[in-house]
Symmetry: D2
Subunit: 364 residues, 4 copies
């Protein structure tokens, strides 16, 4: 079988590099187009990364293959959807708003941008949690006259939260969530990202728009696709967060307090997370964690820690620890989670959605 | 008026050094005795700090005065209460359990140790919050046959939380609190304290015993002294926390969600904190923040930050920001606070208690 | 005596803020003008610091006085030298190249920018080291038709090195210097400065142009003013450096290997630094360290450390430790120094030059 | 072929864990014994790592295999050399001084401890550099009556320096080296290691004994084995260092100034390092870097950086950048190197020596 030809828009930024790193050995997706801003157009990719100081601005740990290093960059404005089978998008929201619909006329677009996350005909997919929402793209195609579609992934802070809530929602119901995040710097990118002078020996207690995104997205992801397939009904869980930035490179830590729909014990809550395998169709996808262990519950009370646990199962597992009764909320429990914000929470998460929708037969 | 002669037990450790730094220019307290373990006894204080590698292990930024540098250290076992007017205690809980009662037979002991915090006849005092609890020492003297008494200060993580809850409790009532702390390394001391290898690029989501301390202490501090003066009735607020450690030198950050006893607006909650001057008797104490501004509410959404705000009013103010409605809890609000864990939360906080009880006429 | 009226160009950036902090209580200089880019013009200074996210971008620890907060910002292009007695410049080199000569037509300009450092008629002044170079401004006035003049301060990495070499050059002669710097992030400013993702758990072994600056400037500063006062003859010391960036907020650390002009002992080298009081005219200037202790030599082998020692004498002293024989270079010695890059090495250093030249009668 | 049965002494410490991680999939060495202090004896290895707080103190990123987790720990005092083919030692110097000779009576001991590094009949081996020194163990066996022998590896700071000097010594000669190190925290271990409070926002300019080790070891490693095989003649290169600690987890950075024995160009120096394949017998060893690229020279002026480059070729390559003329030393050049202090510089480096000596037929 020939591989799916993929174009990546926003290829030179940090998020774009993460897509490239994640796709370098993919079993059925091949990057055949790299697009960036007009000033990079025409240059070999490695040249486009070179700064005026002679630095090669490649920031992910995986080395760049010689083939990709040589691939000429095209201008985002000139990408033609018809030349590819699918697109990945790592551009900022304002660029996404323009480029993604143009590509979606012809091909599926899997996007890390927030531009379309909150539209009624756009599913927001975490494969093990809500694979069932993916068919909403049929409605999107109808409404917008797309041959392809746009499927964004959630904000990286939503991802780990929604994954850990999913088994609780299934087994006990969830009524309310209060979450405080301790987020890694990579979530802010590099332009300018988090300045060293601001974060060393410090915590920054505010990330613009982040809390609202988590609150809205969690309800949408845990919600249900209507039987006619035309819309998603948000879950009625109440969500409130405070999002902070800490001096961590990668991996968001979240302190979660949750009120369940019925009585449970710590052992039952732990078991619910540990036994959860997620949507059947998502199991065994190439980017899925081994044995569908989307959640790893750790017994060591000092875990999870972002540096030690972010890369569990290739950064695709959410690690959980410190599951305890809360004592304040009704049927309240509390726990700490770590989720890799630029793997499961970004590029690899979007690739996982592409894998899912191929398995669901929705790409054609 | 001659100054109060004070002895400090645990003088060589980090907490002890903070007492020394804070007392170097005190208007009415003078350190006339420095006590430490027997192996330091007899050495000039600066010698006792010298390590085998030639390092002078003085870790606070304020320079050590030549007088204190030369003062001979006495063994904790040989301190005689009668030689002093008051004592400060910076020893570990197990040493405190033995030494503090021995000194309290003769003189008041102000302690940063947790050994006696939870005993029924021991007040746990934050001067602006519960100065009214201090007279419980009369009952303690009766029961234990002390001429002096023991008054511990709370855990450093409790302090900022209790201070910010106090005006809310007074004006609206508080029903429940869910708090996640991002604590500084200095809280763990130096033996061994937090290891660099563990905390760089990381968060440690567990601090042994910390959460329980905060939950119990907050209720005790916000409680009331019975009319007969013989016991404290804990407040019935429900408290649940998750305490984490981050790569910050000084200053605990806390993300607080609170359920009030009645409806309020963000403006009212903010005003309650801003206008709060605390117990009248605590205002104007030498170590109190200027103009009794125990709480500073900041409008900049990026504040408070531990590095920028921990030293507000000499580290004696709690800074607050991001006051918002919570949307989940009943009459719920959320905010972020920063409190200096080794100033208001430790040595200077204990000195403030001594100042308070002198003002209350309880030292004699 | 009325104060000197000073205008500050580049007032909103990090370097500008350091000038403001340093001048807030100056005995004879008063900031009466704050200039910045045209988009800030007309706004009260505190408004000009406000970002679109509501953050007040004031980054120095000293609070901003209400007077300065309200002072309207003028556009750099519209500053008239005649309205002031002196100017301080905290702009980038390219802007300095244009604005500084325009102001120097009328008034003295003390600059942290590198634009004019290497011109033959421009002295590069560190008051205790080469106050004698300052009269070169007479030649500059002759050549350029200025009523004022431009005097830049050296690169912040040169400052501590030149200060510690000065007593060695005076007493023993210096033939060669090999230096490796471990520089703080504040030296890179904030636009974008050093990105947290780059520096956490890392060292960056290159700072563009820095090494060349240190090599050239050190020779110029240690050189001599010709007897006719028209030029400086560079010192013939050979200088070679490697400049690196580390995860430190403030305070450059430098590991120095130096070859002296004649034999000496460690005790003699140490004494030379310890006893050095610098140029007589620089002693007792308002910004000078107490008792002219420009260099503090520490005996503790673990010192100097940037966090512990950068603020010695208000950030105006260079701290030195680990003075040892080198064993490789001829009459070789090695030591470690710490110098506050944004105090003595930047704003306060430039203010010190203004103080010096006033004392020298060169301002009129 | 059956695997070599290896015992590891000091198995529970950080260095011991690194040996375990490195040996988990070794082609011809199998850990069949894990030894530690008497208080761990008898416990399964994973139990011995459990602290009183419930933490599993396993600090390396590689997961522990279930087999090793279950293996019972033996007391170091009771290890019998005859039960094994070789031993690896990760104990402190004082323990090594006693245990290593006892084991060496029967079997070869490859040690990360410094106890025997400076003895005349003990080679200090970095396989690509001085494989030729290894036969000195025959003399050691004669003198000490050992059937086995002791071969220590150098201090982790020496390793990268000696490797980069080797090709220069071979091609041009080296006369003098001045080096400043910026060392990672992992080099200090965990008992107590570097305290977070000391290193955050800081540099520590002193590491006890380190500089002397580097100076002596470099000369020994670059020296020659006498023709009679009974002693090593140290190289006459002069070496002087200043060793500092920075806030980096792993990977020592070194700023090197070197005086060569004859004229050379930057291109020639670079080529000498790039083309160097090291001792023939060391090429292709299981732990050697691919294609014997012991040194990788990077063109990007911002490299090498410890976080980005320490893991090059499994942490077994030394990365070099910024090769420039020095301008001060005779035939002087300067460069920056990064070497993984706990891989090539510790456990994996010792394993590489075992591999080498097997290839040399010296194990039997």
């Amino acid at each position: 079988m020939s591989k799916l030809r993929a174009v990546l828009i926003g290829a030179t930024g940090l998020a774009g590099q993460q897509f490239i790193a994640a796709l370098q050995n993919h079993p059925f997706i091949e990057l055949t187009g790299l697009a960036a801003s007009p000033r990079s157009a025409g240059k070999p990719y490695a040249e486009a990364l070179r700064t005026s100081n002679g630095m090669t601005a490649w920031f992910v740990p995986e080395p760049l293959t010689p083939e990709l290093a040589k691939m000429p960059v095209i201008s985002g404005d000139e990408v033609k959807g018809k030349d590819y089978d699918i697109a990945f998008s790592a551009v900022e929201a304002d660029v996404a708003r323009e480029l993604e619909p143009r590509l979606a006329k012809d091909i599926p677009v899997f996007s890390a941008a927030s531009a379309f996350r909150y539209e009624a005909d756009v599913p927001l997919v975490i494969p093990p949690v809500n694979a069932a929402h993916a068919p909403l793209v049929r409605e999107q195609q109808r409404r917008r006259g797309f041959k392809g579609f746009i499927v964004p992934i959630p904000n990286c802070t939503t991802t780990g939260l929604a994954i850990t809530l999913a088994p609780l929602a299934e087994r006990f119901g969830v009524k309310a969530v209060l979450m405080t995040s301790l987020q890694a710097m990579s979530g802010a990118g590099r332009s300018p990202g988090v300045i060293g002078l601001d974060i060393l020996d410090n915590v920054i207690p505010f990330i613009p728009k982040e809390e609202h995104k988590v609150e809205v997205e969690t309800k949408k992801i845990l919600g249900g696709l209507q039987v006619d397939g035309t819309a998603i009904t948000s879950h009625d869980v109440k969500v409130s967060c405070t999002c902070t930035r800490v001096a961590v490179l990668e991996g968001h830590t979240e302190s979660v307090f949750v009120s369940l729909g019925k009585k449970a014990t710590v052992a039952e809550v732990t078991a619910a997370m540990r036994e959860w395998k997620g949507a059947e169709v998502a199991r065994g996808l190439p980017s899925a964690p081994q044995q569908s262990r989307w959640i790893e519950v750790l017994d060591d009370p000092y875990r999870p820690q972002p540096r030690l646990d972010r890369d569990t199962h290739g950064g695709m597992a959410t690690t959980v620890g410190r599951v305890r009764e809360d004592g304040v909320l009704e049927n309240g429990f509390k726990y700490v989670l770590v989720s890799h914000n630029t793997k499961m929470g970004a590029a690899k998460g979007a690739i996982l959605v592409a894998e899912l929708m191929k398995a669901q037969g929705l790409l054609g």
